[in-house]
Symmetry: C2
Subunit: 410 residues, 2 copies
């Protein structure tokens, strides 16, 4: 939590990862983010992972630092309330992050008729409105056919990290802030559409992979755990630990050779092949099997502890393979001294290390992360502060079931 | 390319993916991005994928829409020039995106001594300055131990998409714009540090996975191509095509059941197990093997074409498995009519579909993507426009080898 976006108010009407992640980023940068959900919770309210009692760690993670208002969106009066929140006045207001369909009561045009300078960031599956999620986009873009062991070329391997969701959400956050900067200069709002499949396609273009397949006429084959285009893969130490070792830069390569004392073997191979591995990482990739054998032997005859010291001293680039439970116990970013994670008491009843914003602003105070709200925890507060609604009207909305409060602060 | 950030000037001194991707996003939103490289190119100038002649599609992809100035950074006069560019005056200037080390001639403090309101976004491996790249962060965070076939629990599977690099770059872009908004309100600059391993750790916290392992005490096992926490995996059609089919929402589930005509089988299973799959995606996950058998049978007895129609009509969520070369030929985001990709003539001599910014701003003109520059293509222009350097001084810098021009526009 940083105070960079003080005075900015974002209304989130969304579920799942991309749109809530967008709004989470803005909240962590200091925006007031108000998430509305239908009474009882949206389709992600119980999403796994969850605890044995059913509380969703997923919801609790993606909705930190936000306020929650619960509205009966099946009722026209509830829909009117949601639209009123999105289009409420205020220079820093009028920002809406959503994954609702393009048409309907939360269409940009309908909302912009009420507030002309509205900025809407709409996460979509496909640009044409078609149904897609991270995993169906990933399969369609060819990633699973490049992932996994080289000896199973026709068996796809899905990713487990929803990378397209996350990147789409982050792209939406960048886009919202660019639109806000532009609005302050021009007064104009924006309808921003961020389809998962556009983000994936554009990314593969940016990485040169679209050019690669079109110019070479060939798909990149599966290469197991090898790093494409440079030297890098997993190696097993003499005491049975597994390390990911990478040499992309010249410095990383010279450090690796030095750390492992394989200068002679590398020189012999260079003489045999008539190449130098010092500056061209592509040659290291082309000859990865020969180089890999040298590294493999050296790693397999040393202990993980010894290697860690030697590799670090020599400026090589490596990481251990861990399980996540090992990582949270030992990797620095998770530990309290790093300042990124802080123990937080959550609505689920569990207390666990919870991250702040991933980037650090050195001159600013990093406020502690704020737990996700109970559903409807801020219903009254939001109605009163954003819509300036008197308490008797709020009471009427409650009584008629148009809104619901968690009662947490009754 | 959109004109939202007109008047903003970003200096990039960086290589590889994260920092250049950050600056690319800002360029595509309308900022003037000037990338400086050392004469001859940085460590990413020849990075794979590249064409048979050695031109890097990777560099060409990540540096679109930027200007290039080539400076001899080994010479103190060259280093002075780089620092002068970063700290040049102008309300929209003073924004620096880099992956140079924290200390040294491009340290934030040294630069901020010349321009107090400087915003520096520094991509790092680890927050403590330690060496790390996407792939070593990924292994350390446990992702490869969750990826791949369930029957190889101890064999890691690396990802092939540099998701942490991309997300780190995108986070940096969001952070820069938040810092710019804050600077306009307060006059204050920012040193922003965005370590890959902090981004990865924070993300796993956001997704609820840190809570999951800490509260349950168990690592999430490999589950092959199954989607965690809901229903989804790959299925093979009667004619041998492979589809990713997902049912996270109730709507996606009811659509799938309808499209495949498996209502009776699902009802029988629900009766046997005493559960309803209609609203609880977690139950679909717990019983994925039984449900998967029903879906597998239905998919295996139908053609891909038939299924595509049926699944779309019923509102189910699915995607084909393709190779990337299949995808670029057929998936809508890559096709010219979508407006995202446009044929561009590149410096490599190749013309190929090239993406614009992944998000669409509906009220703005989407300008065509601009090819990456030749190295040093804008050397004179940048020295003249940003540093107001007279031509005889520029000539002297050239003659003494402090700068180099591509000669492209001589």
């Amino acid at each position: 939590m940083y105070g960079l976006l003080n005075g900015v108010r974002v209304i989130e009407g969304a579920s799942f990862i991309a749109a809530p992640f967008c709004a989470l980023s803005l909240a962590q940068l200091g925006a007031e983010v108000i998430r509305f959900d239908t009474v009882g919770g949206g389709p992600d309210f119980h999403r796994w992972p969850r605890d044995p009692s059913g509380a969703s760690f997923y919801w609790e993670g993606l909705n930190r630092s936000k306020k929650s208002i619960a509205i009966n969106l099946a009722d026209p009066r509830g829909r009117e309330l949601a639209a009123a929140l999105v289009t409420a006045p205020g220079e820093g207001g009028g920002i809406f992050v959503t994954n609702y369909p393009v048409t309907g009561f939360l269409s940009h045009d309908r909302l912009a008729a009420r507030r002309a300078d509205l900025i809407t960031a709409r996460i979509m599956g496909h640009a044409d409105g078609g149904n897609a999620v991270d995993y169906t986009v990933n399969s369609a873009m060819g990633i699973p056919m490049m992932t996994g062991p080289a000896d199973h070329p026709n068996i796809p391997v899905n990713h487990v990290l929803p990378a397209w969701d996350l990147l789409t959400g982050s792209t939406a956050a960048t886009s919202v802030l660019a639109a806000l900067i532009s609005r302050r200069a021009t007064g104009l709002g924006q309808e921003i559409r961020v389809p998962l499949s556009d983000v994936a396609a554009a990314t593969l273009g940016t990485l040169g992979q679209v050019a690669e397949v079109l110019v070479t006429g060939r798909d990149r084959p599966k290469i197991g755990n090898d790093l494409f285009g440079a030297f890098g893969r997993d190696f097993v130490t003499g005491d049975g630990r597994r390390l990911m070792i990478v040499a992309i830069t010249s410095r990383q390569w010279s450090g690796l050779v030095e750390a492992l004392n394989i200068e002679a073997g590398v020189a012999t191979l260079e003489a045999e092949l008539g190449v130098s591995f010092a500056v061209d990482e592509g040659l290291r990739y082309e000859h990865r099997d020969r180089l890999g054998a040298l590294v493999e032997h050296a790693v397999s005859t040393r202990s993980a502890t010894h290697l860690a010291t030697r590799l670090d001293e020599a400026g090589a680039c490596w990481g251990p393979y861990r399980t996540l439970s090992e990582a949270v116990a030992i990797e620095k970013p998770f530990l309290p001294e790093g300042g990124l994670f802080t123990d937080v008491d959550h609505v689920s009843g569990h207390t666990y290390p919870t991250p702040g914003y991933a980037a650090s602003f050195l001159g600013l105070q990093r406020h502690a992360p704020v737990r996700a709200p109970k559903l409807g925890e801020h219903t009254e507060e939001v109605l009163a502060s954003v819509l300036a609604m008197p308490s008797h009207e709020i009471a009427t909305l409650h009584d008629s079931g148009i809104v619901q409060s968690s009662g947490a602060h009754a």
